[in-house]
């Protein structure tokens, strides 16, 4: 029989997280610090709206780009919260989670051989999606000493004649790093000078704990060079609804819509109706959840200090990225032993790129009570390592 598989797909390495998931799900009484989604339920008024839409029989496709009233609300929201203006008719596309946006943006923009700059550590999808779109991923290794922010120098170093696009994933999963206005201005200068585009994944934009989030598209000269990805998963605790959006110049959105139309048709209708409600009346919920995350973030930093675990203070998303280099174990070994000996699941930093080696991603999308139990176990484990 012929090989049924595509060489391109088989060459892609499976996600490094899978292994931990498999082992952890076999264990009893595992305390996890390994999730990448909110612990809150979707606020009830948003769920209620989804239920209503089903009751009213709104069970059909929407237009390819998404419900018009949803796109209008997205436009209002981005103006209100991120200070960027997008025309709801031509510049906004509602997608199946932020993840679809990553995929179709790359497919719509890349020609074979085009280089895409990906700062790491980062979310696991960018690199394989670039490969699937026939692009060439070029990673930029971010450094802890810069608090995992992307600097102008690091960017310049990796730019070649073939570079077309920079992926900008801030606030960052897994490091929790945020780019401040000044950091973005430095980057923007280089982007414009070298005639590049930016794919700005701002899915965690609502979760910043020191100053407001800045969208790179809001800087002078950047709107026309930027695709902005955002969504409902993190800000409104709506991961399972699978709903996000991507915004940018009409020329690109039009081509992305083509892929979306043929591959997906439209984002889930129920989710879209619920999302309208989220954007109209959800600001208070977001603020409340943000405050809760911030309290847990402080608690975690405090406990790390107590147990002598080195960690820079992150101000975004719901992750901390402590350094474990002093223990002489790789991230993978550390995480595996922590799981086996104390039944605590974390994600090794190396799952997010080679430069994540020596770090762990710890999520604080958990109640204080749950964090307490997990951190006690982590502390016990660390003390044992220190004695050994």
């Amino acid at each position: 029989m012929r090989n049924p598989l595509s060489d391109k797909v088989t060459a892609i390495a499976p996600s490094g997280i899978r292994k931990f998931f498999d082992i952890a799900s076999e264990m009893k009484d595992v305390v996890s610090l390994g999730v990448g989604e909110p612990d809150f339920d979707t606020p009830w008024h948003i769920r209620d709206e989804g239920i209503y839409s089903l009751e009213r029989g709104r069970t059909f496709y929407t237009s390819n780009s998404g419900l018009k009233e949803l796109r209008e609300e997205i436009s209002n929201y981005l103006k209100r919260r991120c200070h960027i203006e997008y025309d709801p008719l031509h510049e906004i596309l509602v997608t199946v989670g932020g993840s679809e946006g990553i995929d179709i943006a790359l497919r719509a923009m890349l020609n074979p051989g085009d280089e895409v700059l990906i700062p790491q550590p980062c979310y696991v999808s960018y690199l394989p999606c670039v490969v699937l779109a026939d692009g060439v991923p070029v990673t930029i290794e971010l450094k802890e000493e810069n608090e995992f922010r992307l600097t102008k120098e690091e960017l310049l170093e990796k730019i070649t004649d073939k570079t077309k696009l920079l992926v900008l994933p801030f606030p960052n999963n897994p490091t929790g790093a945020v780019m401040r206005r000044k950091d973005l201005e430095d980057i923007a200068e280089v982007i414009i000078e070298h005639d590049l585009y930016v794919l700005s994944d701002e899915i965690y934009s609502e979760l910043t704990y020191q100053g407001d989030h800045v969208s790179i598209a809001s800087l002078p000269g950047m709107w026309e060079r930027t695709l902005t990805i955002n969504g409902f998963s993190k800000s409104y605790a709506m991961t399972g609804w699978r709903l996000g959006y991507i915004c940018g110049p009409q020329e690109i959105v039009q081509q992305m819509t083509k892929i979306h139309q043929f591959a997906i048709m439209c984002a889930p209708t129920t989710s879209q109706y619920a999302a309208v409600q989220a954007l109209r009346n959800g600001d208070g919920d977001v603020a409340k959840m943000r405050e809760s995350y911030n309290q847990r973030r402080r608690y975690l930093m405090h406990r790390f200090q107590e147990m002598g675990l080195k960690c820079f203070e992150p101000f975004g998303a719901f992750y901390v990225f402590p350094c474990i280099k002093e223990f002489g174990l790789t991230s993978d070994e550390f995480a595996m032993r922590l799981l086996e000996e104390e039944h605590v699941a974390v994600v090794p930093g190396s799952a997010f790129g080679e430069c994540g080696e020596g770090f762990l991603r710890i999520s604080y999308a958990y109640s204080i009570e749950a964090l307490k139990v997990a951190l006690e176990r982590l502390e016990r484990f660390i003390q044992r390592l220190k004695k050994a």
């Binding site: 998931f21 996890s32 999730v35 989604e37």
Partner: protein
């Protein structure tokens, strides 16, 4: 800051003030002072415990009683409310807008005990025009807490 402290205490009056200080990015001393001040000012009126009596062997009946009254000259509803709330079996008394005036929440050991309170003590007050008693059959949610339901984390253990 006050509002944040109160939000926590309202949910968990047993919270360790040192821990609360960490969560709010403040110091234990500041928090303790603020709590003491609020106790002094009667902003904090007590530290009660939410109990699901259904789960215990003790028998309790709770009733909501709508009371229509004639307000008294110069004193409005306050003095009649006082007459009612002084009974120890009365848990809460609220002045209400709408079809009736006072809502009285009463807890007794038996149905009979509650009804005799209404007929003997409440209805006989001069200013009381009428009462309507509603017995509570089941409590689903009280003070913002869903009773008897433990939430379980249904998320996958590890996700990117």
């Amino acid at each position: 800051m006050r509002e944040q402290i109160l939000t926590f205490l309202e949910k968990n009056s047993k919270i360790d003030l040192k821990e609360l200080a960490v969560l709010l990015g403040s110091s234990e001393e500041v928090i303790a002072n603020e709590v003491a001040k609020m106790e002094e000012e009667q902003v904090i009126c007590g530290y009660h415990t939410l109990i699901d009596w259904e789960k215990t062997s003790s028998e309790k009946v709770t009733a909501l009683i709508e009371v229509r009254v004639t307000p008294q000259r110069g004193q409005g509803f306050d003095s009649i409310a006082e007459r009612i709330y002084n009974y120890p079996e009365v848990q809460s008394v609220y002045l209400i807008s709408g079809a009736y005036d006072l809502l009285v929440i009463l807890q007794g050991k038996t149905l009979r005990e509650v009804s005799s309170f209404v007929s003997d003590k409440l209805s006989t007050l001069d200013t009381v025009l009428s009462t309507a008693t509603h017995f509570i059959l089941k409590k689903y949610k009280d003070y913002g807490t869903i009773l008897g339901k433990k939430s379980k984390d249904e998320r996958m253990l590890v996700t990117p």
